[in-house]
Amino acid sequence: MPGEPAKRTKREEYKSTLGEGQDAQLPKKKFYRQRAHANPFSDHSLTYPKCPADMDWASLYPAYVVEEPQDGSHDQKEISEGKGNAITKQVEIADIGCGFGGLLFALAPKLPDTLILGMEIRTSVTEYVQDKVRALRAQHTPTTNASTHDFQNVSCIRANTMKFLPNFFTRAQLSKIFLCFPDPHFKQRKHKARIVSYTLASEYAYVLRPGGIVYTITDVEDLHNWMVGHFEKHPSFEMVGEEELEKEGDVCVGIMRKETEEGKKVERNKGMKFVACFRRAEDPPWP
């Protein structure tokens, strides 16, 4: 739902004032607000690749595009072959239901060598993140602010991850998945709409490599228990403590607590935050 026509026009007008290049301004959220809940079951007119190989990663991460060899020889091994130009790295981190992208922009400078992708079902919220990525990249030039991050390693797409995750990622492609403050869908009738379930855990396990981590955080205790229950029941995951991750040098939990927009809201209201992380186990032997 791209918003009511009037709102959309306003946003377009507004967007034309954002400017380009170094003077690019960061977008303002108020022009991108959208009805809170999108139905993950309905047939949105989504665009998605048929398979990961069809994905045009180059347009999302232009700084990583593989230069076409001058002599025209197509010697492109060891690189992902997208439909557009290939890129030299694969996305390794997915923030599912990234909202306005607070976590993405906090993670990107901390993991500068890793490609991070936000996935969000709401159109204009996605657009906000994309506009912000564009602005941050434009503001950065090697001469003026070489010490700041260039945000070339972060991007965002519109996607219904509950249906189409395997269209974007191959088996074992990801090392981290974030599920931050998912919509709680309190009513029992709506539990199938929750982004965590025993059966969805199989898909998360499919795109995660063994040893990879799923991070969850919520302010709703019941949802926390639900997520823990479903991941713990799933043989491909084992729960791992925050301390253990920190000992391994993982900075993500701290960032997730502080930097998501929902996390900040909860902070302001002095609410509780429940964190749970799960490690992708090796698949058991198969005859």
Partner: protein, 494 residues
């Protein structure tokens, strides 16, 4: 009047000299069978109110319009799926309205006997049976796959409430709101919560009783499942599932069904049917112009075959009226794919499409080449289902269920006169299909007489106004032609 069989199944036990077989059909809410020795059986056995209470010669309008599907019972339940166990001992069926999985067998007198009925929480869409015949795999409308023991034993009933599953939560007996005002901070969450508190104060809403019989959630898609297949290659077992989006998923078989091995990605439209003609080969079809042929173990596309072209060529020979034809052809939906037991060196499948009065015989071509259309077998009505009898090594017979109510080529227009047959039989020798009048003669009861007089109950035949019949026509259409409805209409809710 006779109604068509929405599903049929056949089994055959070829021996040295002859071949024993049985053909099962479901018609509305009844299951019937006829065997090669001529024995017939109907389930349930109770007779509906007969027509004897009314004069037989009462003028009643065109018989073709008299469509009545079910006994005048409180609950209408129509069969939607029929599968035979590998050992041919059991028939497993789904009745749609009561979401029920029913297991039948033929007793020593070849009479149908229902062994168990288990009603699921969500409507089952498709079934598969593991190769050892121990387990039914049930794929449902919500996208989940459950396993149930094929043989139901009351001792297996779960006495305790099972661990919360996918769509089942811990019994909400002690209903507590899932959050408190203290823990919810965003405006929208708070609104939901307030709603919930209101409800809680009104008292606990009754949640559905958990299913008592043994069943286990194996895997799930966030999309309606359309078909499921079970395969064994060497020591490994697999479950293949297809959904209303374009996905075909390959998972490990139980007890490792939570592990996804891969996806066969390529369809542009919903997938309706999966067929595993030879080990390692999958043929899939649905709302796409093409059938896809896969090396599914390696998630690799081997070939495509344009079924829409075959349908188009055939439909153009069928009618003069080309007005709606292009539109119709663009909506071609594969409604069935059947493996033909090897009668030659080629792997052959039969394919049917919704509302098309033909079956297409296609040679898969193996690794050597692309699939080719061997033969288009024209029918006297739309193809509904196919059951195959393996007569011996050289030849097999396809029993095709025919829509004798709708006009050939249409899923909406009713015929003026009821079609002549609701079955047609074709035998295949070498690579050629010929109509088989011998088998047809043997199936006379099933073809014309089974349930013939029961379509009308005493009460219902007195209803002469148009509307109830229209409703029945719609009900019949829904039973026979549900698949085109699966096509997405994007933008509707976005």
């Amino acid at each position: 009047m006779t109604l068509p069989f929405q599903c049929i199944e056949a089994y055959s036990l070829p021996t040295e000299r002859s071949c024993e077989w049985a053909v099962f059909g479901v018609c509305g809410s009844r299951l019937v069978v006829q065997t090669s020795s001529g024995v017939t059986s109907t389930w349930p056995t109770e007779q509906y109110p007969t027509r004897s209470t009314e004069p037989a010669d009462e003028p009643e309008g065109p018989p073709g319009k008299r469509v009545k599907l079910s006994p005048p019972a409180d609950q209408i339940m129509n069969f939607s799926c029929l599968t035979l166990s590998n050992g041919k001992e059991h028939i497993v069926a789904i009745t749609a309205e009561d979401k029920c999985i029913r297991v039948f067998r033929l007793d020593s007198e070849n009479q149908l006997q229902q062994l168990s009925q288990r009603c699921m929480a969500r409507r089952p869409c498709a079934l598969a049976i593991t190769s050892d015949d121990s387990t039914i795999l049930c794929a449902d409308k919500f996208g989940d796959v459950y396993s149930l023991p094929l043989q139901y034993t009351p001792e297996d009933d779960m006495t305790e409430t099972p661990i919360p599953e996918e769509s089942e939560t811990p019994a909400e007996k002690d209903y507590k709101p899932a959050a408190s005002v203290l823990t919810v901070h965003s405006g929208r969450n708070r609104k939901v919560l307030e709603e919930q508190m209101k409800q809680a104060s009104k008292g606990v809403k009754k949640s559905k009783e958990p299913l008592k019989f043994k069943h286990e959630l194996l895997l799930g898609h966030v999309s309606m499942l359309t078909d499921i297949a079970y395969a064994r290659i060497d020591e490994r077992s697999y479950i293949l599932t297809a959904d209303r989006d374009e996905h075909i998923r390959v998972s490990r078989g139980p007890p490792q069904a939570h592990i996804i091995e891969g996806f066969c990605q390529g369809h542009d439209e919903f997938v309706t049917k999966l067929c595993l003609p030879t080990p390692g080969v999958l043929v899939s079809g649905g709302g796409d112009p093409h059938l896809y042929i896969w090396d599914w173990v390696n998630s690799r596309l081997l070939n495509k075959f344009c079924i829409r072209d075959a349908v188009s060529a055939f439909m153009k020979t069928l009618t003069e009226d080309k007005s709606n034809l292009e539109d119709k052809i663009s909506k071609t939906v594969v409604s069935g794919i059947w493996n033909v037991p090897a009668t030659s060196t080629q792997d052959v499948i039969l394919v049917a499409c919704e509302g098309v009065p033909a079956v297409f015989s296609i040679s898969l071509g193996g690794t050597n080449g692309p699939p080719v259309l061997g033969q288009t077998i024209p029918l006297t009505g739309n193809a509904l289902d196919v059951g195959i009898i393996s007569q011996n090594k050289e030849f097999c017979t396809a029993i095709v269920s025919i829509d004798n109510i709708h006009k050939p080529g249409s899923t909406t227009e009713i015929r003026e006169d009821e079609g002549p047959n609701r079955l047609q039989c074709f035998s295949c020798k070498g690579n050629e299909w010929h109509e088989d009048s011998d088998v047809m003669a043997k199936l006379e009861w099933l073809n014309r007489r089974a349930l013939g007089d029961e379509g009308d109950s005493g009460t219902d035949s007195k209803v002469t106004s148009q509307s109830p019949r229209r409703a029945d026509e719609k009900a019949l259409r829904d039973i026979l032609y549900g698949m085109e409805n699966l096509r997405k209409r994007p933008g509707a809710e976005d």
